[in-house]
């Protein structure tokens, strides 16, 4: 796409930067942390070997304690976010994990000591303080590793979905130049007054072009369909640009039933008109000629260059077409560009049968 039409937007906050550290202060993450904490509390209470009597009060005590630990960890990681964020994912991940284990160990020790001083006997006998601290830390180590990993993967997955939909939209925009759409509409509006039949045909051509552009996928079509599409496109452009656009097409020799990637030719012609004819006051000739080669075909598209042309033209749609030719034909298909001083030539060679 031309830079004019693809307005570059500033990145939307942090969302566009993939982050390895979950936002522990955000409500959904906090909620996930609390759910996991409660599950841990349940597991601890229900584990076999524990006393079955009075399990409900025990669940209450354990829940309060585990929730408190979990929130403490979340708050610590949240407030250290700025320091952790710049780190590499791997080392940052490890550091966050170590921090949460240390926080748990420390908190467990403090709670144990408080419990013993106050004599509430909520935790464990004095003799096994270290067992209590170690056990808690070990549980935290396991749960924290799993949870950090889970949240990281979740974030990555969201990021991927975001990127995929963005790419799809951009591809759609690249296929349909907004300028072309609105100028064509304007052409039709103008024709309706004076030449209704011509207007009708233009609407049909535009519809065909859009059907092809919106429906194009990685499937194969036939060369005949592609040539028809080029003809429809050029018909609209000739109305729009008037005498400035002259067209020379010589493709009678080409086999119309050859399999080619969909929407392979039209973008090449569109490029030729857009970069070669439109910027020239007196326009010029876009030519497309095709011939059979032993074992394949060759199509050559030529357009004049405007005076003062920028040295290289935007290669997005060319790169796209080239990639698709490569996908379908491997190394036997090629798209070659010959940017001469006055004439710009695109040369496409395709074998008779695609590999995919």
């Amino acid at each position: 796409m031309k830079p004019q039409t693809s307005r570059s937007r500033p990145a939307q906050g942090d969302a566009s930067i993939p982050t390895w550290l979950p936002h522990f202060c955000s409500a959904p993450t906090l909620f996930a942390v609390m759910i996991v904490a409660e599950l841990v509390a349940l597991v601890v209470v229900l584990a076999p070997g524990m006393e079955v009597r009075a399990w409900l009060p025990r669940l209450g005590v354990v829940s309060v304690y585990v929730q408190w630990l979990a929130l403490l960890n979340a708050v610590v990681l949240c407030s250290l976010r700025r320091q952790l964020e710049p780190l590499q994912a791997r080392s940052g991940f490890l550091l966050a994990w170590v921090i949460s284990v240390l926080v748990t160990a420390l908190a467990s020790a403090v709670v144990c000591r408080m419990d013993q001083t106050l004599g509430l006997q909520l935790t464990i006998a004095e003799s096994s303080t270290w067992r209590f601290v170690f056990g808690n830390s070990a549980i935290c180590a396991l749960i924290a590793a799993a949870l950090l990993r889970y949240l990281f993967v979740l974030e990555q997955w969201r990021e991927r979905v975001r990127a995929a939909s963005k790419a799809r939209f951009e591809a759609l925009q690249a296929r349909i130049r907004p300028h072309f759409l609105f100028n064509s509409m304007n052409t039709i509006a103008s024709l309706i007054r004076t030449r209704p039949a011509e207007a009708e045909r233009t609407v049909e051509d535009l519809a065909d072009l859009f059907r092809a552009a919106l429906g194009a996928d990685d499937a194969l079509g036939t060369l005949g369909e592609e040539l028809d599409l080029v003809e429809r496109y050029l018909h609209i452009e000739q109305l729009r640009l008037g005498e400035r656009l002259k067209v020379e097409i010589d493709v009678a020799d080409l086999p119309r039933d050859l399999s080619v990637p969909r929407l392979m030719l039209q973008p090449l012609i569109e490029n030729a008109v857009y970069h070669g004819i439109q910027p020239r006051a007196d326009g010029g000739v876009v030519s497309m000629s095709g011939r059979r080669l032993p074992g394949g075909i060759e199509i050559v598209v030529r357009n004049p260059l405007p005076p003062d042309a920028p040295p290289s033209r935007n290669g997005v749609s060319l790169a796209n077409t080239r990639a698709r030719i490569e996908y379908h034909f491997g190394t036997r298909g090629e798209l070659r560009v010959e940017p001469g001083p006055e004439i710009y030539t695109v040369n496409v060679r395709l074998p008779e049968t695609p590999i995919r």
Binding site: R7, P178, A281, D308
Partner: protein, 244 residues
């Protein structure tokens, strides 16, 4: 009210002309296919309003507007565009109006109504609203109330004299009221400074020669005038000439 239609697409011009014909006391005095032709026709047609397409070959609507803004009594400018251009945002405050294509008849009428209340002050604002990074394709001189355009590609050299800059080009010379430094900045890479008062087009620079009196002169293709190279600009110039 006299209107000039400027658009590179014949059918787009045709449609606007047909719509304008339906509006009372509006006369289409002419049509042009690009900004440059529009400016050339201006002196002859004296329009009150110019309907300007943005994307056109040779000279686009934004640049044409900029040149129009230098006139003593600029016409009212109404931009037409197929698709919102971000460059247009800067102009919104200063153009009479801007219309999106296909233009609606009501919108055209209301834009023309606004144009009646238009003063030249706004037009001059258009000039300053242009993005600083944009390079013009033409320089524009005012000669007896009309505009003379010189394609930047045809300029041989620019010579500062008092508060003017003399633009020497393939077909003669014109005076413009712009500082040489501003021109040097705008067209960076196209001109090279050989002296405090002189910029030479890089593509026209042919070499350096020493005059009998010891002064160093720049040879510029098709130019017989002696252009002296100052000592200060010599090192850069030497390097450039070596790569010619």
């Amino acid at each position: 009210m006299n209107v000039l239609i400027v658009d590179d697409e014949p059918l787009a011009r045709e449609r606007l002309a047909a719509m304008l014909a339906e509006i009372d006391d509006v006369t289409v005095v002419g049509e042009a296919g690009n900004g440059r032709d529009a400016l050339d026709a201006l002196a002859r047609l004296r329009p009150d309003v110019v309907l300007l397409d943005i994307r056109m070959p040779v000279m686009d609507g934004l640049e044409a507007a900029r040149h129009l803004g230098t006139l003593e009594r600029p016409p009212a400018m109404i931009f037409c565009t197929a698709y919102e251009d971000h460059a247009l945002a800067a102009f919104e405050a200063n153009a009479v109006d801007y219309l999106v294509k296909p233009v609606r008849s009501e919108r055209l009428r209301s834009a023309l109504a606004k144009a009646r209340r238009w003063t030249g002050e706004h037009a001059r604002g258009v000039q300053s609203a242009l993005e600083p990074g944009r390079k013009r394709t033409h320089l524009c001189a005012r000669v007896r109330g009309s505009l003379v355009l010189v394609p930047v590609a045809e300029i041989d050299y620019l010579l500062a004299e008092d508060k003017y800059v003399v633009v020497h080009h393939a077909k003669g010379e014109v005076l413009i009221e712009e500082p040489l430094k501003a021109l040097e900045d705008e067209f960076e890479g196209r001109f090279v400074r050989i002296h405090r008062n002189c910029l030479v087009a890089l593509t026209k620079l042919a070499g350096l020669t020493r005059a009998p009196d010891g002064r160093l002169l720049a040879n510029v293709e098709g130019v017989t005038a002696e252009l002296e190279v100052s000592r200060r600009n010599l090192p850069v110039l030497r390097k450039l000439v070596r790569t010619l």
